[in-house]
């Protein structure tokens, strides 16, 4: 039962002056595939390295299978890790690379051979076993790095951006291999990535981290299943981080509050109805309204109650199967992005009136916390 | 958490480690005790601190990182820093051949001095009984008192016998001639009398009482047992002096303050050669750097000039002087330049009919040193310049060629400006090295020809370090003065390295 439990984990440098991670509480269940995502520098790698023991834990508890391992050196933790740079031992062949840890564990020759060959077979590395890392392609090295941790049969797999050095096609292929591998071994895994798609497709659960803001309590933003994060981000940070292109945000104020639905007025004067529970708020509160480009409707007729916003088309990105239209709107500094399937009738500099279905809207209070949504989203 | 891990460690190999540490510590403590017993407090204390530190580092888990650094730091502390500080220390003492011991040791030597008590004398007769001998001693002042010693076997080592009253000797009495044969063995015999007094042989026919010349007084003073005269240590000169003010050797080393440095400034016999040597050291190091850098740069451009097809061969052959150990090349030159038997003078005589006096004429000796050192030093500069030249981008030369520039123009406006910055720290380091190029001077001329009219021995081609060496180990063993000069050199070298550090930093900034 390789369960990982983090309790009030902190990481600070310079003797507690600069914090990188603060109050991380997390429970990773046995067999679960968890992804850490967050912008660069938010401490994903640091957290991963604390779990495997390469980085000291400043305070808090780390439990592996129910025992506290804060002070256990990495070589005793029985975890496997795949580094971004692969970190294959250049002076050893693939076979020696994979056997290194087993030899240190004083395993018998036969068993070592058996394990190495089995892992090599499953990763299609058998013909490469006697090569040195220098004579291999990036994808092959990647597989060796994975094989090296598999043979150890660790309690826990850790991956630090393992696919970021590969080209796009190979990345997709390796992603599927990783998914298959996890299905087969069912070992608890933690996966750090920049790539949302990797996180969304591979992970059972996603952990969103943010760069620690001045005075913030924690930089753990939200933990949840991929679609949960997508549909119900608990705050502005997660809402803007998950999903591509980014969610559109409008500043607005509350006209009517309610448990089932509310009414907001955008700063430009447009009034909209939204299905969010704002019973905790007062009329007149400043709020932020968010809607994903994919959730905007381009048939204004279909959204009832006149939930419409008008903007001027700035540019159109035509991708073939879909198009993104960038609208100018006084309430958004950057651009109001709308996804449409058919953009043939649209021209830049023309006005575009889009529908904003009440059930597709996200609403956040001034502190950035989400008001719960009350209806499931509606699609075209 | 910690307890079970420690217990496990103790079982698996950690026990061995503890045993090893204990063993080493025991050995070191034994040595420390020995040092302490001999009054070498400084040594004992230093070693004690280092031992304690080492033990802590190798047993404490907290000091894990230091386990890797401690051994090399120990090397640096013991063989760079300690000698440095020790040299500073000696510079303020009169440590030297005349004052080499410690005060404690000198006191012991004085206390060991024995004189004969002239009033007590015993005539001796030697009796032999097979291999055993006995002495019969007759008190000369009182003929009735006769004593016989226990029997002993004569040997070339200290022998103790006791004597009892009466003549009870067995065997036959030996003649004077046979006594003389046993002279050296008898010299090793000490006789303890009934009253506890101890007799030794004082002449061929007599045994007498030896008493220590001095007994200890207060405050390191010694009292002459015969005259009652008090001699006291003079802590400014490092000798015991008697009441008449005469110094009684051996001397001990004492702190003399700035005296050694004052001698460098005030004693004409030292100051003049010192200044001459200092100037020559600067000239020697400066010219060496200039010559080697110029030749090295020239050769570096030549061996990298592409039209010169066979440049690879030149490169290897030109590096040769650097590959041969310096002590061998220098001695080869010493032989070749030999005034009477050397090949160089033979060739010069054959060609021009001259035999320059390389080793007796100061100017020629200096010229020879510069020739040899340039020969030894240019390959290093060449190697460096080769690297630096490669780093200058080719397109600079291509651009200037398109402008129709000449090679001289290239050298002045492209090569040199690009070299100056990176070369400066190297030139300074080379200067510092040659400033202390002891091996060259010592092996080639040994400082000679010698200057005349100086109060310490000094040579015309001496540089500061070789002068220091001579002062310390050849002429008079004046360690104190030598260390004072060494201290000055330390300061100069320190200054040069400070300049160098700044030059390097400058380089990194641009």
């Amino acid at each position: 039962m390789a369960e990982v439990k983090l309790t009030k984990l902190n990481k600070s440098y310079d003797g507690g002056k600069t914090f990188v991670l603060k109050n991380i509480d997390l429970l990773i269940k046995d067999g679960e595939f968890t992804a850490f995502v967050g912008p660069s520098g938010c401490g994903k790698s640091t957290l991963l390295r604390m779990i495997c023991g390469l980085e000291e834990i400043s305070s808090g508890d780390l439990e592996l299978e129910g025992t506290r391992v804060n002070d256990m050196p990495p070589n005793e933790r029985r975890v496997g890790m795949v580094f971004q740079s692969y970190a294959l031992y250049p002076h050893m062949t693939v076979r020696e690379n994979m056997a290194f840890g087993l030899k240190l564990a004083k395993m018998s020759k036969d068993e070592i051979n058996q394990r190495v060959e089995e892992a090599a077979r499953s990763l299609q590395l058998t013909h490469l076993l006697d090569r040195k890392p220098k004579a291999m392609s990036g994808g092959q090295r990647q597989r060796v790095a994975i094989g090296r941790s598999i043979v150890q049969e660790p309690r826990l797999f850790l991956f630090d951006e393992p696919l970021s050095n590969l080209d796009v096609a190979l990345r997709v292929q390796m992603r599927q291999e990783l998914a298959r591998l996890h299905n087969r071994l069912q070992t608890t895994s933690i996966y750090v990535t920049h790539d949302q798609v990797e996180a969304m497709t591979l992970a059972d659960r996603i952990v969103v981290l943010s760069p620690l803001a001045e005075g913030a309590e924690t930089n753990l933003e939200q933990v949840g299943a991929p679609l949960e994060l997508y549909h119900n981000p608990c705050n502005l940070f997660v809402a803007s981080f998950i999903g591509s292109p980014k969610m559109n945000f409008f500043s607005a104020s509350l006209l009517e509050t309610g448990e089932e639905q509310s009414r907001v007025k955008l700063d430009c004067g447009t009034e909209l109805t939204v299905f969010n529970n704002t019973s905790s708020a007062k009329v007149g509160d400043k709020v932020t309204l968010g809607i994903r480009p994919q959730d905007v409707l381009n048939h204004e007729e279909e959204c009832g109650a006149g939930n419409c916003i008008t903007g001027t088309i700035e540019t159109i990105e035509r991708l073939g199967n879909e198009s993104f239209i960038y609208l100018k709107h006084p309430d958004i500094q950057e651009a109001f992005i709308v996804r449409v399937e058919d953009s043939r009738r649209r021209e830049p500099e023309s006005a575009f009136r889009v529908g904003v279905p009440a059930e597709n809207c996200h609403l956040f209070n001034e502190a950035g916390q989400a008001y719960p949504r009350t209806r499931s989203p509606r699609f075209d | 958490m910690t307890t079970p891990a420690d217990a496990k460690g103790l079982l698996s190999g950690n026990g061995l480690k503890w045993a090893l540490v204990a063993l080493i510590d025991t050995a070191l403590l034994y040595i420390i005790a020995g040092m302490y017993a001999q009054g070498e407090i400084l040594f004992a204390l230093t070693l004690l601190v280092l031992t304690g530190l080492g033990t802590w580092i190798f047993t404490s888990q907290k000091a894990y990182s230091y386990r890797y650094v401690y051994p090399c730091l120990l090397g640096i502390i013991l063989f760079i820093i300690f000698p440095l500080l020790y040299t500073f220390n000696i510079a303020f003492t009169n440590y030297g051949s005349a004052n080499i011991l410690t005060l404690e040791r000198v006191k012991e030597i004085h206390l060991e001095q024995q004189v004969r008590d002239s009033e007590v004398a015993f005539g001796l007769a030697l009796y032999q009984n097979d291999d055993n001998y006995q002495l019969v001693l007759t008190d000369k002042s009182n003929k009735q008192a006769i004593y016989t010693t226990s029997s002993f076997v004569p040997a070339e080592q200290a022998t103790e016998v006791s004597a009892t009253a009466g003549n009870a000797a067995a065997g036959k009495k030996l003649s004077m001639r046979d006594v003389i044969k046993q002279r050296s063995a008898l010299g090793m015999v000490t006789v303890t009398m009934d009253d506890g007094s101890r007799l030794v042989m004082t002449s061929l026919r007599e045994f007498g009482v030896m008493t220590p010349l001095y007994r200890e007084g207060d405050d390191h003073t010694l009292i002459n047992n015969q005259t009652g005269e008090i001699i006291r240590p003079d802590m400014t000169t490092g000798f015991y002096v008697n009441e008449a003010g005469e110094q009684l050797p051996p001397g001990f080393s004492v702190y003399v303050g700035m005296e050694n440095f004052e001698r460098l400034i005030e004693d004409d016999g030292i100051r003049q050669p010192f200044i001459k040597i200092f100037i020559w050291t600067l000239v020697f190091a400066g010219l060496t750097v200039a010559f080697t850098a110029a030749i090295g740069l020239l050769l570096a451009t030549l061996v990298q000039w592409e039209p010169l097809r066979e440049r690879g061969v030149y490169r290897v052959l030109l590096i040769l002087p650097y590959a041969v150990p310096a002590f061998i090349s220098i001695l080869i030159f010493k032989g070749l330049f030999n005034q009477n038997f050397g090949e160089i003078n033979m060739i010069l005589e054959g060609l021009f009919g001259i035999r320059p006096e390389w080793f007796t004429d100061p100017f020629l000796a200096k010229a020879m040193i510069l020739i040899v050192n340039t020969w030894l030093g240019y390959p290093y500069m060449m190697i460096i310049c080769m690297g630096l030249l490669k780093a200058i981008p080719d397109d600079l030369y291509e651009a200037s060629a398109i402008d129709g520039a000449s090679p001289i123009h290239n050298l002045l406006y492209i090569t040199l400006p690009n070299l100056v910055k990176p070369l400066t720290p190297i030139l300074i380091a080379s200067f510092a090295f040659n400033f202390n190029n002891f091996v060259l001077i010592n092996l080639l001329t040994d400082g000679g020809p010698m200057m005349s009219g100086t109060s310490t021995l000094a040579g015309n081609t001496d540089i500061l370090v070789s002068f220091t060496f001579r002062t310390a180990f050849i002429a008079g063993q004046d360690f104190g003065l030598a260390s004072a000069i060494a201290t000055l050199i330390f300061l100069i070298v320190g200054f040069i390295s400070w300049v160098n550090l700044r030059a390097t930093r400058n380089l990194q900034e641009h």
Binding site: L54, N75, M81 | A323
Partner: protein, 296 residues
């Protein structure tokens, strides 16, 4: 640069070639001379580069074999050259091994471990290596003189004292090895730690094998430096049988007893192997040498 060639290139190449050859004559003269002298009979110059009646007398004497001269007198070897050579090799090998061990572990700590005063210690080492041991000869002499009273095998005139006193010469090597260690990805050792290696095992099985090139360079550098070291050896060693070659070789050329021919043979015998080692390893040594300043 190849594209930019002036018209009179051919003459320039020949002029350069001529200069080079003249210069090489000057550079090679001492070496050729010394080889020639070693095969010449007698100890005095005869005036020709190629010996007129070559003889092996100097070689025999240097190798410790008595030599019977033409007139029937037997010449005995004057100095125990082979003993000196053996002393030199022994001292240099042990010293280099110790220097290698000390500077490797030290460099590992400086490159990889975190501890207090690290930067200060590094700067200190940088500065200390500027001070040559020649300046502290008195201290070395006094130090080992006293030490000999407590530990006789570490006193004056012992090889152990000499070896130990050379151990100060590790600062530059620490810098060299440290630089190399730092060029090796730290993730390799971290990966080894995850694979179950203790820090020592990671050092031993991962870092060391990857650093063999620099370790070889440091070993050879230390060997060459030690075998040519003269000042400390000349102060610490006294007995004729204890001398190293660097100290002993001088004795051939005392004015009272001038053994030019014997010296030549000894110089070739001992200089040649060192020179060959140097030239073979030259390519790898140069970087180390240029970083380490001037050769002594």
């Amino acid at each position: 640069m190849a594209m930019v060639q002036p018209r009179n290139l051919k003459y320039r190449v020949w002029a350069a070639r001529l200069c080079m050859i003249l210069l090489l004559c000057l550079v090679m003269f001492p070496f050729l001379m010394i080889v020639s002298v070693s095969f010449r009979s007698g100890n005095f110059a005869t005036g020709s580069l190629i010996p007129e009646n070559p003889s092996l007398e100097h070689w025999a004497l240097v190798l410790g074999i008595p030599w019977e001269a033409a007139d029937g007198t037997i010449m005995q070897p004057t100095f125990p050259v082979l003993t000196w050579l053996w002393n030199s090799i022994k001292v240099s090998l042990i010293t280099s091994a110790l220097i290698l061990a000390l500077s490797t572990t030290g460099a590992y700590a400086f490159a990889r471990l975190r501890f207090r005063f690290k930067d200060h210690l590094l700067t200190m080492m940088m500065i200390l290596q500027m001070f040559p041991a020649v300046l502290a000869l008195v201290a070395f002499h006094a130090f080992f003189n006293k030490l000999g009273n407590f530990i006789p095998w570490l006193g004056l005139n012992t090889h152990a004292a000499l070896i130990v006193s050379y151990l100060g010469g590790i600062t530059m090597n620490i810098w060299l090895i440290k630089g190399y260690f730092q060029s090796i990805d730290n993730a390799l050792e971290e990966s080894a730690a995850i694979d179950g290696a203790t820090p020592w095992q990671a050092f031993r099985y991962i870092l060391l094998p990857l650093s063999v090139p620099i370790l070889a360079v440091v070993f050879i550098l230390a060997f060459i430096t030690t075998i040519g070291e003269y000042p400390i050896a000349s102060v610490l060693l006294q007995g004729a049988d204890q001398l190293t070659l660097a100290v002993g070789a001088k004795q051939f050329l005392y004015a009272q007893n001038y053994l030019w021919g014997d010296f030549a043979a000894a110089a070739v015998l001992t200089g040649l192997p060192i020179t060959i080692i140097f030239l073979v390893a030259q390519r790898y040594l140069v970087s180390g040498l240029t970083a380490g300043g001037v050769k002594g």
